[in-house]
Amino acid sequence: MSAVLEVEELSVDIPVSAGLLHPVQGVSFTVNRGETVCIVGESGCGKSLTALAIMDLLPSSARRLAMRLLLDGEDMLNASERRMSDIRGSKMAMIFQEPMTSLNPAYTIGNQLAEALTRHRRVSREQARERAVFLLEKVGITAAASRLRQYPHQLSGGLRQRVMIAMALMCGPDLIIADEPTTALDVTIQAQILLLLASLQKEFQMGMILITHDLGVVARVADRVAVMYAGQVIEAGDARQIFQQPMHPYTQGLLDCIPVPGKTQRGAHLGAIPGIVPTLIGDFIGCRFRERCNYAMVDCVSEEVSSRDAVQSGHTYRCLLGAQQCADNAKRKASA
């Protein structure tokens, strides 16, 4: 499998009045062709900023640092803004969280769809229109041709997100980044949109980064999973590995929060992770999860924690505990 996107040691710094904020620190992962990587984590953990950093769409005050950032083998770290704008929308595209406000209210759907294609490809307006109709039908919009003349405010949230997906696909990108694409939608529509995304991703053999805080979503569509906490990837691996044998205490805590049908007793307490995320301003030494961790040790305060390999290959986690101990912890939790 060839890598579409390689991210190594990606960090984002934002100067704020109290000092330098490090919302993303040392994030590394790879997305292969035809593969869905889910980035999971609570709000504020840096997953959206990671996506924006890859797209080079960070707010102007933020700074991006990385060892390596390759798209189809091309270096994006030193690419000019001009080159980046050629890449955006063409080789990689993004779908945002807020379909209600992500479309320009002043222009028709057709105009905004066609523009995504004509910007990057030498095509006639008629060809752009045909492509738009084709993709609108692909994303399950009926009477696609007549929708082109409509304005965003005439469409429901679910329809608008479908339009956003079609827009992202206009140029046939190699990588698609979906930042919580279903959070703002009704529960009934969420599943439809996700399944749609997953099937399109398989059909067009794109790499996809799906950002979410919904573990149920992850379980259904992820090939691989990266769990983020306080700006760092604290565990990464195949979806099966993460769900069957979570290593990091935080990941174990997360999975503990999900009710399992047939297993969780009615009225029984679901798991909770007490405490709050530490502030990420200034230098932070040691494990970021230690304040909330049941297994915290003295070393967690002083020692920088790096990623280490779990039992199975391709599965890494960021904790001082040994792999065997983590596995035992997981078993104990499961049996409790």
Partner: protein, 305 residues
């Protein structure tokens, strides 16, 4: 859209009627027109006769209705001072004031919109601070004083521009600046605020994520949305300007409506004064109506309801 336009038109007509009532009452309160018509040597009997002949003894409602009926047909009254029909004088002077207003609003827009856009693109930089300073100073500058300063420097010391009259387009430069600068802070701030809001909106991020060129993002996607409220403000300010041009016209001796108003006040010629107020109010009403229509046209959320 059609229903919206119709509703909006209804409001405009109602406002116009109300304004006409107010201006009529101005005239009514200004004194007994019969006495003025009769002249100083008239006897009580003469005055009574005139009152009956002209219908000044009727109830005020009837007087208003007959006056309004006349106004609808272009009869705005009779000036005892000028001994002529008011409408003729007013509409003779109107084009000059409109020219001045158009020049002033052009000056204001050319200065304020680019400045507002630049300030929004580079918030908290030198450009932004310059724009803000200009706005704050502009709002505090008394227009008559500013006009005199312009005359003193541009007209007298450097002899660049003529200081009075309406002979050539050069005569309109200083008045247009003096009248227009007062509008620039408002328009500039609104443009800046609108652009700031739009530039941080989700759909601008979408446009950038599509890889659109920054020019396309700025002009097609941002300015188009930010400019919508500016349209309405411009219409409102243009209306205010026509009313405020009295100060500028008197200073620069421009023979427009404002100057006529000032002359009429001096000679207590209330019919002319009242007609000017009515005409300017109606222009304002028409302008704001047109601005709302233009707004609806620019904003599909109103147009395609």
């Amino acid at each position: 859209m059609f229903v919206y336009a119709l509703k909006r038109l209804g409001v405009a007509v109602l406002v116009a009627i109300t304004v006409s009532m107010v201006t009529f009452s101005l005239l009514y309160l200004s004194g007994d027109p019969a006495m003025a018509l009769a002249g100083e040597s008239a006897t009580q009997q003469d005055i009574e006769n005139i009152r009956r002949v002209y219908g000044f003894d009727r109830p005020i409602i009837l007087q208003y209705l007959s006056w309004a009926w006349g106004a609808l047909h272009g009869h705005l009254g009779y000036s005892n001072y000028l001994r002529t029909d008011v409408a003729a004088v007013v509409f003779e002077r109107l084009p000059t004031t409109m020219t001045l207003g158009a020049a002033a609003i052009s000056f204001a827009l050319i200065l304020s919109i680019p400045l507002g856009v630049l300030a929004a693109m580079r918030p908290n930089t030198v450009v932004d601070r310059f724009a803000l300073t200009l706005a704050v100073v502009g709002q505090a500058l008394p227009s008559f004083w500013f006009a005199l300063i312009l005359i003193f420097w541009l007209g007298i010391e450097w002899r660049l521009l003529p200081i009075t009259g309406t002979e050539s387009w050069k005569n309109f430069i200083m008045p247009a600046i003096a009248l227009g600068y007062y509008v620039t802070p408002g328009v500039m701030r609104l443009t800046r605020a609108g652009m700031l809001e739009v530039l941080s909106s989700d759909y601008i991020r979408t446009a950038r994520a599509k890889g659109l060129r920054s020019g396309t993002v700025l002009f097609k996607h941002a300015l188009r949305n930010a400019i919508i409220p500016v349209v309405a403000l411009t219409a409102v300010q243009f209306g205010f300007m026509l009313g405020g041009s009295i100060v500028i016209e008197t200073i620069f001796a421009i023979n427009g409506l404002g100057y006529l108003a000032w002359e009429s006040i001096q000679r207590a010629d209330m019919p002319v004064m009242q007609a000017i107020v009515l005409v300017l109010a109606c222009i304002y009403i028409v302008l704001t109506f047109l601005a709302d229509m233009l707004n609806a046209f620019l904003d599909p959320r109103i147009r395609v309801a």
